[in-house]
């Protein structure tokens, strides 16, 4: 009975005044079904915002999207050098490919979370005028940055022979890894951005947490280095996610399947929490912005 609301009905239904759908807004949040449907109906707004975001970010840079690859490659190069030559970590044969795979995934994650966590507050100029599910704003960076992520992995795959890595069937893990990484990142951004509306400390907590998180995820060092701790580190959801990319480009590592399983479970729970949080709080955010 209660239709999802006002504002943008991008469902293409002719909404001329006569015989138009009646929208009702009252104190109840939408039902889960209505909520999912209104998100779906606004998918074109999401893709359009993501395109605008991507466009604006790289438009004025001469190298454009190449920067999305160049920055993490430089970071990976430095890390690989420091950990293999200076600290002399005992490494597997393709340590370069291993670090590169992990760093590219991580740089997508940290870059997306940093902007996604503040997206609702930053986008308040949009949403206090016209309604669409604000959850879309938090997902925009996750979608927009996918371009850079995909290009990065295309480049890495081409460069594998230079790094001395062999092509194998494991490369099929890359698209699956991207799917999991994007889902996890988007879900986390959703939860954090909702929290950030209420507590502005979140922005800084996220910056601090990302610094620590990078080092408790086996990216710059092989997982085997941690010995007995390596099973504990599997409960870090990013461990399983980066391992998919590392395995794809640099070969198998100990019990990575279990880590992936934990990441998948974690992602599903987080996604449910994220959707529910936004369903309940969506139309209350504006009161706090």
């Amino acid at each position: 009975m209660a239709e999802t609301v006002a504002g943008a009905g991008t469902d293409g239904v002719a909404t001329t005044a006569a015989g138009a759908v009646e929208h009702v807004i009252d104190s109840r949040p939408e039902t889960r079904r209505e909520w999912l449907r209104s998100m779906w109906n606004h998918r074109s707004v999401l893709s359009m915002l993501a395109r605008a975001d991507f466009h604006v970010r790289y438009k004025r840079a001469a190298l454009g999207v190449a920067w999305a690859v160049a920055v993490p490659v430089i970071q990976a190069g430095v890390l690989a050098f420091v950990f293999s030559r200076v600290i002399r970590v005992q490494s597997t044969a393709n340590f370069g490919a291993y670090v590169l795979g992990g760093v590219l995934a991580w740089s997508y994650f940290s870059g997306t979370i940093a902007t996604g966590a503040t997206a609702i507050v930053d986008g308040s100029g949009l949403t206090d005028k016209v309604w669409f599910p604000r959850a879309l704003l938090s997902v925009v960076p996750a979608i927009a940055n996918m371009v850079g992520l995909s290009v990065s992995f295309a480049v890495i795959v081409v460069a594998m022979p230079i790094l001395g890595a062999d092509y194998s069937i494991r490369l099929l893990l890359i698209p699956l890894g991207i799917l999991l990484l994007v889902s996890f990142t988007a879900s986390l951004a959703l939860v954090l951005s909702a929290l950030h509306v209420y507590f502005r400390d979140v922005k800084f907590l996220v910056q601090a947490a990302l610094l620590v998180w990078f080092y408790v995820t086996p990216i710059a060092y092989p997982k085997g280095l941690l010995k007995s701790l390596s099973s504990v580190i599997d409960f870090n959801p990013m461990t399983g996610i980066v391992s998919m990319f590392q395995v794809a480009v640099a070969g198998p590592q100990p019990h990575w399947g279990r880590a992936v399983g934990i990441s998948v479970a974690f992602t599903l729970v987080l996604m449910a929490v994220a959707l529910e949080t936004h369903r309940r709080h969506d139309r209350l955010f504006v009161d706090l912005l």
């Binding site: 006569a18 009702v24 604006v56």
Partner: protein, 415 residues
Amino acid sequence: MTAAVRMTGVGKRYWQLSEQAMLLRSLIPFARPTKKELWALRDFDLELEQGDVLGIIGRNGAGKTTLLRMLAGVTRPTEGSVRIRGRVAPLISVGVGFHKEMSGRENVYVNGMLLGLTKAEIDARFEAIVEFAELADFIDTPVKFYSSGMFMRLGFSVAVHTDPSVLLVDEVLAVGDLAFQMKCLERMKDIREAGTTIVLVSHSMPAVRLLCPRAIVVRHGHLEYDGDTETAIAKHHELLWAEAEDGASARQVGDQAFTGGATVIRKELFEGDKPIRVASGEPITFRMAVRFERPVTSPMFAFTIRSDDGTLAYAIQTPMKLEHRSFDKGDECEVELRFEPRLGGGNYRLTTVIASSEGRDLLCSDEIGSAFNVPARLWRQGVAELDGVVRVNGTELVEQRTWRLGETSSDARSS
């Protein structure tokens, strides 16, 4: 037929925190910041038929913005419900979501989609949008190179081309130059005739008067008045002045001491014998009855006429120390001020001061005064009406169009 907009018992509560919420503090049960509830809107009922044009007036903080946000579906009411048929296009501030780096063309698409159009719908309207905004030559230029006028023209153009069922307008008629404003008004008239319901929030009473046959006055989150625009505007001003009166507790005016001693018991503005609120151009007579609470000899009467924004239009007083007559305690007298309203369009307020003969004691100060409106004449501004005439090569240039939204336009020639 069902109403286009129906608000039933709508209330919106905000929590006013004594300090900024902080993550750590809110986790500690005893240290939670105290919060105070604040109803921005309460027991609000409103019904609009398709094609209605409604003005919303009220002072800042009265709840107008909350009301618009509720209609736009941006915020959820705490109690009651809002029902709207069809699509709402908010024109709250033009250019929602404009990206400065992107071209005008790209921004039309972003903006249009945010307002609820599909890509195909924007494709179909694109030409019309650009043409209306008069930006055909600049449409592929990044909007950061636009002047503020161009920027607003584009934003307004997109919003009025979304064919909404309900159009929410908040102080945007100050867009661009006068010619473009007229174009906007004409466009609003067209979309109203196509059946769109328009809700306009404005602090500009001339704009409300020009566009809306009906207006509501919102005060402290309540619906104070709902009806014809002239009465609504008069009501709004009465409230403003009554509140200003409450605030002015210091009864010291210049070097005059407020002693009291006289009361205005009746006051009214007339044209001839007819009480008025809107001046027609005929001489106006202000009549008031005053009662004295103590003996007073030859009191002095002073009158002031000020416009909306406080500009002094005219002041007149009886000569100081002019002997006329003495009043005893309980005496009443009739005071009359007659004047020609040679005033520019706008709202005016006539206030009265009664002082002792030498002007030292202030017996009565009617700060609320009496309100009246002088209908605005197009293309003229200022508090004085000097009946100017412009001729070019001997030909008088006179406005021949009218823009009143509530009525159909005719070629009324005002000369």
